[in-house]
């Protein structure tokens, strides 16, 4: 099941490579069919998902597990037997993101419909990217995770670089270098963890890349460089390196500068993917790897995670306020909203972490919608200057309706999904006493968020219509097809958030419990 949803796009890619260039329609339809199939598979998984199984650090309670031996080399010098598993599985942390990925790629396929340059190449790369994203969320072996993580860099580079705007080359290489810089350190940490974890396999001890084994104190090697048993371990440094690798993806201040460039230059569909799914990989990685593999360090540094969350919230909002480019404004609003995720994670309690995961999902859908909205107006007017518009509400009333919905959801208006997750984040963060001041300051972000969103609404949609735009048409069918499903999700989760919260509840509980107990275990082992 998970292999199917992950590798279906690769199959599609291979089919597309064999199709002739001229068959644009077939290529597009095929891509749509594949991403549609992904949504169906994801929905099916949701249907048969067992809400009571927790996952996190317990391999038995993961669902849809697929585990095969992938690499098996006996008696390698010094390393002993090398075994790497192909190990997939999902729990309450990953299933919302699997759903999100399926939905967002489907919508993004629709958003790519108007691509007219090298269609074959575009959709082939698009599907490759899809596999990479899906793989990151389902992999439970660090090695596999890393391969998927790196797999999506190259397609992303080309998608921005070939189909992007005027400064595409700069934006593409900046994205690539930033992310690679983060991920190579992840590789070193991965190797370090490999040498610190041993499991028993057929009676002999072997090193392993299995993430879940890395979370289990009884697997630590006495003298491994990242093992708590080793008094000279480098866990703190490794944690920071790994965290930065993920933080670049979030993107956390001060590593966020690639994001506005990438967003502004990327075509609409790619912006949708970038904001909708890619940013979540950073926070997902922190929750999936940094937290449970290094619980004691997480506790040490939790204040800084909250602090950077706060900086993201305030700084992103202030930057957004200063933008004249509509798309750049949305990009900075992403920075601000991802700050909420970090703040929620830093609370280390059930409400806060649930809020963070929910915020990941909600931000994915809301920002995707916002970028589509920008794309709609850019397609028609070929400009994104906020000050060049005005009064669009009279010219494009339905479009303005959708925009208002998305804007209000982003602000966090009660009744829409954004409200629930932000409220949960703040509820959770206030309960955590050591970050209370930070949380208090962060609430300013909600105010700033309302300010720049409403101000933008006023500048673009209200007031006097600029005569230049009096020929703009309202939404067409394809745009409805993109905006309606996202709107439904936003409203539905605003009214009935339990649908998503129940899904992640047992996993989040397990995680909070693990995080609360682990430092004792990890700490006492360290002094042995």
């Amino acid at each position: 099941m998970l292999s199917l949803i992950t590798f279906l796009p690769i199959v599609g890619m291979i089919l597309i490579l064999f199709l002739p260039k001229t068959q644009a329609k077939i290529i597009k339809s095929l891509t749509l069919a594949i991403t549609g199939a992904q949504v169906i598979i994801a929905a099916f998984m949701l249907g048969s998902y067992n809400y009571t199984m927790a996952g996190i650090n317990d391999p038995k309670s993961f669902q849809f597990i697929e585990k095969f031996q992938w690499i098996n080399i006996a008696n390698f010098p010094l390393l002993g037997n090398i075994k790497i598993d192909y190990f997939l599985g999902i729990d309450g942390l990953s299933i919302p993101l699997v759903l999100l990925t399926a939905i967002i790629t489907f919508v993004a396929t629709l958003a790519s419909w108007k691509i007219d340059k090298s269609i074959k190449g575009y959709f082939a790369l698009f599907l490759l990217l899809d596999t990479g994203m899906m793989g990151v969320f389902v992999a439970l072996d660090f090695f596999l995770f890393y391969i998927f993580w790196e797999l999506m860099l190259l397609p992303m580079y080309f998608l921005i670089g070939i189909w992007g705007g005027p400064r595409k080359e700069y934006a593409a290489i900046k994205f690539f270098l930033y992310t690679l810089f983060g991920s190579v350190f992840m590789m070193l940490v991965m190797i370090g963890l490999y040498f610190s974890t041993q499991i028993v396999d057929n009676g002999t001890k072997i090193y392993t890349f299995n993430m879940l084994a890395m979370m289990d104190p009884k697997n630590f090697v006495a003298n491994g460089i990242l093992s708590p048993l080793n008094p000279n371990n480098l866990r703190l440094i490794a944690y920071i390196a790994l965290f930065i690798g993920f933080a670049i993806k979030i993107p956390m201040f001060p590593f966020h500068t690639w994001l506005p460039d990438a967003h502004v230059e990327a075509p609409t569909a790619i912006s949708v993917i970038l904001a909708g799914v890619l940013l979540k990989m950073g926070t997902y990685g922190i929750l999936r790897i940094c937290y449970p593999v290094f619980p004691e360090i997480t506790h040490q540094l939790i204040w800084f995670i909250a602090l950077f969350g706060m900086i993201n919230i305030i700084y992103g909002a202030l930057c957004a306020m200063a933008q004249k480019d509509f798309k750049k404004l949305i990009a900075y609003s992403s920075v601000s909203h991802m700050g909420f995720v970090m703040l929620g994670m830093a609370s280390l309690n059930t409400i806060g972490i649930s809020g963070a995961v929910l915020q990941m999902f909600n931000h994915g859908t809301i920002t995707a919608m916002l970028f589509i909205i920008v794309g709609v107006i850019y397609d028609r007017a070929h400009t994104r200057g906020i000050y060049e518009f005005g009064g669009l509400a009279t010219q494009m009333p339905i479009y303005t309706g959708f925009t208002t919905l998305a804007f209000f959801a982003a602000i966090g208006l009660p009744g829409l999904s954004g409200f629930i997750s932000e409220a949960f984040v703040f509820l959770g963060a206030f309960q955590s006493t050591n970050i209370r001041v930070i949380t208090a300051v962060s609430t300013l972000g909600m105010l700033l968020g309302a300010a720049y969103m409403l101000w933008t609404l006023q500048r673009v949609y209200l007031g006097q219509l600029n005569v230049k735009w009096s020929s703009l048409k309202d939404l067409d069918f394809r745009e409805y097809a993109m905006l309606v499903p996202l709107s439904i999700i936003i409203i539905f989760l605003g009214i009935y958030p339990s649908a998503m919260l129940n899904l992640m509840n047992s996993s989040v509980n397990a995680m909070v419990k693990f995080m609360a107990e682990a430092p004792k275990v990890f700490g006492s082992l360290g002094s042995l």
């Binding site: 690499i71 390698f76 010098p77 010094l78 593409a172 190579v184 590789m187 070193l188 190797i191 370090g192």
Partner: protein, 499 residues
């Protein structure tokens, strides 16, 4: 008489060398007999190389590690056989490349000497890989060098070409002079040129500053062959000026032989014993090769990568990239363990495939557009999507990103470093590989991100070209996803190393 008998008895160990000498003679004779018709010469060479390759494979499976025969001049073991295999397979591919290279075809009337010289290089490299004696090292090094000086200037049609040859010669003569000086000092100190004997004299307390100095002088000659900084100066000019086939050949075969020689030199001359865990224990009081190689390796890769950033000629860029890769390969030597050695071997398999692939695409493109400037690659990805995509695979692999074989190679090198707890070096190396992304991706940027200058340009690929490009591109992806075979090969090669 007794000596002669041992010599004859151990002759079977030299089968590959004998075979390749026969090929050399055959090529020369046929070239002389068949005066005008030279089309079959490459096929003669190719057949000879393939036969030799089988003999090398046979040598690989000699179960016992045989040292100390052949008058203590040579060592025959699996590691040596592996490097010979790399050399001979690279030679086969280079002959194939030469068949489809426009540059080489234009010098049609001198094909005889071209293939004869390649054979000469192969013989030299084979001896280089197995030598255990300083004189043997020097002789084989010179044999390789002299053949390659001529090959570098083979096409004779441009000033660059002659410049390459001359520069190569001047730098080569200089390095081997330095090396010879080092050898003479060692001979003066110990009265022997055999590395094992030298080691025992050293272990008995014959150590001194002079000795240390002499070791570094000898390293100059080896460093020149593997183009390690600061002995790399010839590389960019020679790589740029030489015909592409020869550039590719130098970057793989000559480097493989150099690394084999380096490993041989260190293990025979300076390693007291290899303990059970596979760590190499240096002779007490010998030069601290660990520190020495750390410095050389950092210098080499940093210099290679940063200089490559500013290159506009793709051959020159790949030259600097090959310097950087020599730096990465040295990482495997730095740790002085069997595990490091297996990482070097693994990286060599991968490096040979991807680097040959990159040079092949450059050659095919140069065949069509007649240029090697990166600026002329604008939009080529649209003129020839096949070559464009394959180039992307090779370059991404050279950068070391998954899911390509280059990633697996780097992974094992870093694994060796981290296992040896050399974290700062690993960090420097990994930052280097991020830097390298910038210049590799620059080629792809020109190929795909910019529109072609000439929209109608279509580059057709012939069947022979398709085949050879795929032969190199497919393994890069395949070994990136399923790397058990190459890791096993690396493992088996070192299994019997000096034990």
């Amino acid at each position: 008489m007794e000596n002669l008998k041992t010599l004859v008895d151990s002759l079977y160990l030299l089968k590959p060398e004998i075979a390749i000498s026969c090929v050399l003679v055959l090529v020369i004779i046929m070239d002389l007999i068949m005066d005008k018709n030279k089309t079959f010469l490459p096929y003669v060479a190719l057949t000879g190389f393939i036969i030799t390759a089988f003999l090398v494979v046979e040598q690989y499976f000699f179960k016992t590690s045989i040292t100390q025969n052949l008058q203590k001049l040579l060592v025959i073991d699996a590691v040596g056989a592996f490097f010979k295999l790399i050399v001979i397979l690279a030679s086969c591919l280079i002959v194939y490349f030469s068949l489809i290279s426009k540059e080489v075809k234009e010098a049609f009337d001198r094909h005889g000497e071209y293939y004869a010289l390649i054979c000469g290089m192969v013989i030299g490299m084979f001896f280089m890989i197995s030598s255990a004696d300083l004189i043997m090292i020097y002789l084989s090094l010179e044999l390789v060098s002299l053949s390659s000086y001529v090959l570098a200037g083979f096409t004779k049609n441009s000033l660059r070409n002659s410049e390459a040859s001359l520069k190569y010669f001047v730098f080569g003569a200089m390095s081997s002079g330095i090396m010879l000086f080092g050898i003479s000092i060692i001979f003066g100190l110990t009265g022997t040129t055999n590395l094992l004997a030298v080691k025992s004299v050293m272990a008995a307390g014959g150590n001194s500053l002079t000795f240390l100095f002499a070791s570094i002088l000898i390293f100059a000659g080896i460093g020149y062959k593997i183009s390690a900084a600061p002995f790399h100066f010839w590389t960019p000019d020679v790589y740029e000026g030489a015909p592409i086939t020869i550039t590719a050949y130098l970057s793989i075969a000559s480097k493989a032989a150099g690394f084999a020689l380096l490993i041989r030199f260190i293990t025979l001359g300076y390693v007291q014993q290899i303990d059970a865990s596979g760590a190499w224990q240096l002779v007490a009081g010998s030069i601290d090769w660990k520190k020495f190689f750390t410095v050389i390796s950092i210098l080499t890769m940093t210099l290679g990568n940063f200089a490559a950033l500013w290159q506009d000629n793709i051959k020159r860029m790949l030259a600097y990239s090959s310097i950087a890769h020599a730096g990465y390969l040295l990482l495997g030597v730095v740790v002085l363990t069997n595990q490091g050695l297996s990482a070097v071997i693994l990286y060599f398999i991968v490096y040979a495939i991807m680097n040959l692939g990159a040079f092949l695409v450059v050659m095919l493109i140069a065949n069509k557009i007649g240029s090697e400037e990166i600026d002329d690659y604008k939009g080529l990805g649209y003129a020839t999507p096949f070559l464009g995509v394959c180039m992307a695979i090779f370059l991404i692999s050279l950068t070391g990103l998954p899911p390509t074989a280059g990633f697996i190679g780097k992974l094992y090198l870093f694994t060796a470093l981290i296992e040896a707890k050399m974290i700062p070096l690993a960090v420097i190396a990994i930052i280097n590989s991020v830097v390298s992304l910038y210049y590799y991706i620059r080629v792809l940027k020109h190929m795909f991100l910019t529109r072609p200058q000439n929209e109608d340009l279509v580059i057709n690929t012939s069947f022979a070209e398709y085949v050879i490009v795929l032969v190199l591109a497919v393994p890069v992806i395949l070994f990136g996803i399923y790397f058990t075979p190459i890791v096993n090969l690396a493992k088996n090669s070192v299994a019997l190393f000096l034990q």
